[in-house]
Amino acid sequence: MMLYIVIAFLWWSILLYLLMGGADYGAGILELLTREGNRAGLKKTAYRAIGPIWEANHMWLIIAVVIIFVGFPDVYSLVSVHLHIPLTIMLMGIIARGTAFTFRNYDAVHDSWHRLYDRIYMYSSFITPMFLGIIAATAISGRIDTDATDFPSGYILNWFNWFPLSVGLFTVCLCGSLAAIFLAGEVPGSDEKWRFIRKAKQMNGLATLFMVLLFVSASLQGIPLFRWLFGNVISLIADVIAAASLAMTWYMIYQSRVKTSRFYAGLMVMSLLISVSYPHFPNIVLLKNGGSLSILDHAAPSATINALGIALLAGSVFILPALVYLIWSFAKKRSVVDEDH
């Protein structure tokens, strides 16, 4: 029982990281895709909207990692060994982004150094979700070769191929569109709002393109992605909800109910995650030799799982109300400011 609670926490942490951390990265991705002249306004809006919660957004990754290394040590150590290189690149992205975000907001002097911080911030906002996507895709692509005898097939070719790369690019566009939809609801002026909506549209378009690439590369590499996503009832229902949510997102945007559209965008991401994760459950890592790591069979001893579950439950009693109050109170304060203008 406790094992399922721990798994649920793991799944929710990943979802929340994808949504909240994703929107965070997305803000940087949007900045990268904005003409230099318009960047200052975007930067200001993003900082005002994300500033108070951005540290908290990235805690979800830490929670997910801790759950994996305490609760599922076999999975953690296997992935750490075979995905060493993409994990290291992702870590570089996390370091660069976190520090550049802080530096550009807290450097007391405003001079040409800020151009450097901005640049680092934008590129690392792109690289980090890209590699998160690559890592997740590699885990389920069945290309991790535990019997490899040479360096490339053991440590590079498992992730450096079309399927993970296109999942990475898809993740980047997903983050970008989440950020655009989120930020569109944060700006009072309609010019700026429509600029975000245009960006959201572009991101959606690109995401669709990469999704096609993703299916093509999956079928070329013999990954049964189609069967996973459409071959069972739960995934099918989730797919339908995802498609409907996407439609609702855009309907709400054109109804000028941008804040409501956020809910549907979130629901879409959640349904997508259900659709991909359900068909594998309980397997979390698929290996080249046909084996797999099941999250049920490779869990830590029950004493550990019980303690971890209690810690997570107790932690959420403290974290969730505080987090909700943080988000709510700053959202309220922002809208008060907006009305003043």
């Binding site: 305490v70 040590p73 150590s77 976190g98 550990t304 971890l308």
Partner: protein, 442 residues
Amino acid sequence: MDDFLAARSQMALSLGFHIIFSCIGMVMPFFMAVSHYLWLRTGNENYKNVTKAWSKGVAIFFATGAVSGTVLSFELGLLWPTFMKHAGPIFGMPFSLEGTAFFIEAIALGFYLYGWDKFNRWFHWLTGVMVGITGIASGILVVAANSWMNSPSGFDFVNGQYLNIDPMKAMFNQGWFSQALHMCIAAFAATGFAVAGIHALMMLRKQNVGFHKASFKISAVFAIVAAFLQPLSGDISAKFVAKSQPAKLAAMEAHFKTDTHVPLIIGGIPDTKKQEVNYAIKLPGVLSWMITGDPAKPVTGLDRILVKDQPPVAVTHYAFQIMVGLGMMMMAIGAIGLAAFFKWRQWLHQPWFLKLFIAATPAGFIAVEAGWTVTEVGRQPWIINGVMRTADAVTPMPGIQYSFYLFTAVYVTLSIVVVFLLKRQIQMVPVIYDKPQLNPAL
């Protein structure tokens, strides 16, 4: 450079940087909260300015501490997968609780940094205090996990199997209290002296004296109190190490031969071949007395430890000497500081007094790094004391040296940028806070 050495170097580097960022990140909020409290109570603008300036420092250090901590949570697996595979479920409890503490810290920091003039002023102040409390809690929990590596408990090791896991017992292993106490006090002393030193320098340069004097006083008080408490906690730690890790204590003291009336060795150059220490000051019987309470009792030396189980003696010994030496120096400076606060207040403006504190700016952090070296190098060749060897835990992936070069480049750059940013913060003090001195006497 072979992979094992590269992995150890990368881990040492990452922890060496993280320990500085996180010490500052967990202690500065308390300085900030005290200054904030003084502002709310007295209405003195200097305190408000100090609070705001420090809160920017807290933001910078929290962010660098958080990312370097995130990196570490992955690096444990990237470098030591075999260790994590077995140890994760046993010593993971403090990490899962630390996740909560850290999360609350991030939330509280969001309220604090962005909440100026938006919330009830005491609620706002309280969120700052929460940042400090949760930061300390995180620190204690992480150190509890490290102390488990020194004094493993909460499982039975039978034929290479880790059985009967008890995560709570592992978290409250015998070493957690003495090690966490020592680390927390060290963080206060190191950060206190570093901050006080910087503000003393600004006072010496006669810049915004009111602002810098307010900052100096708050940080110096924390530094002095910590400097006086630290030897006591060091004594508790040393006694525990003698009991749980006699090899580490013997290496710290370069104590080769088990004997009674063991002298305390101060300084000196250990000669591991001849098993003696040259040029050292030896206080007869003092080590026996300090560890056992009786100068006539024996203390285990390295001769009782198998050669393959011995830590590197020279490094551990030098690091220990540096730590203790700096600790004593900080206590001496602390005594002079106390005299200045309570009796000779004119000293606070005299160049020699300020120079003394300026000289001590890096002392605490050098001591922290040295102490960390004692703990980690002194535990070798074990990653889990007496259970798993560090060499057996390392990743099978080849080419770790390139990863080490990459991390070195990143961390060195990061440190330079942080120092550069702090310098700019301090430079900007006259511009941002240059108002007429409301109360220069303070």
